[in-house]
């Protein structure tokens, strides 16, 4: 497969220490760096949602049992088929070292039975393409692509 050419956007690199508010900081820095792509509101939302859910998962699961948290490294590389995002952390591996399927939680239920969570992976897989996870050494590596600013 021929890798699509890179666009003119410089490689984005954001490094934060895991915490709930670090997610906001990382999103802000990453999205600010995307400014040259002039994303419309839908594209901006798509990137922000995917990144937010992926980072929340790391904070809440990968680092949940690690008292002092740890690093989260995010890189963004824009090609002509969209924004390639790579997220690396040093927390615990995904269960069975596999991605969750990410089915949509059922909502056709009585109100007391409505889900209050479980939307994260569904949203990531619904919005992003080519979502790939690997456990490499002591690192979780998540790669995905958000099809925004195509042909830019």
């Amino acid at each position: 497969m021929i890798s699509p050419r890179r666009s003119g956007l410089p490689l984005i690199e954001v490094l934060v220490q895991s915490s709930t508010f670090a997610v906001r900081d990382a999103l802000d820095r990453f999205l600010t760096a995307l400014a040259p792509l002039c994303l419309d509101i839908e594209e901006h939302t798509a990137v922000e949602m995917v990144l937010a859910e992926a980072l929340n998962n790391i904070v809440e699961h990968a680092y949940s049992s690690v008292p002092n948290s740890g690093p989260i490294r995010i890189t963004g590389d824009h090609h002509h088929d969209g924004l390639h995002i790579h997220i690396v952390d040093e927390g615990v591996a995904m269960p069975d070292s596999k991605l969750p399927i990410g089915l949509a939680p059922a909502v056709n239920l009585d109100i007391p039975d409505l889900p209050e969570g479980g939307f994260g992976w569904f949203l990531i897989k619904d919005i992003a393409k080519d979502v790939v996870y690997a456990r490499v050494g002591h690192e979780n590596q998540l790669k995905l692509r958000v099809a925004v600013a195509l042909h830019a």
């Binding site: 839908e42 859910e53 909502v107 409505l114 939307f119």
Partner: protein, 115 residues
Amino acid sequence: MEVSVETEGDICVVTICGTRIDAAVALAFKETTRRVIEDSAGDIVLDLERVTFIDSSGLGALVATYKLLTPERGLVLVGMTPAVTKVFELTRMDTIFRMYPTRTEALNAIVARAL
């Protein structure tokens, strides 16, 4: 979590002052709305006009708030911005919540239902 609370008869209009309902504030959101619910008696109108981002944790907090009110009382959402609308559509929560563009329309609808 900062909110502003106004009343219109039995109805409480709660405006979220921040721009995000995310994992960082989801617990505080639930706690704040729980207190508003305890201190009031009627339906709650939640004004999300200033909210430009909600994640799955924030969505979960809204569902939790809805459950606290039901079945006796209602929750109505107004002022949904495009990003918030998108999350509701993707998760099909737009089929669960009552939503109106403006608080005036929401208040009129609640009053009309009560008649």
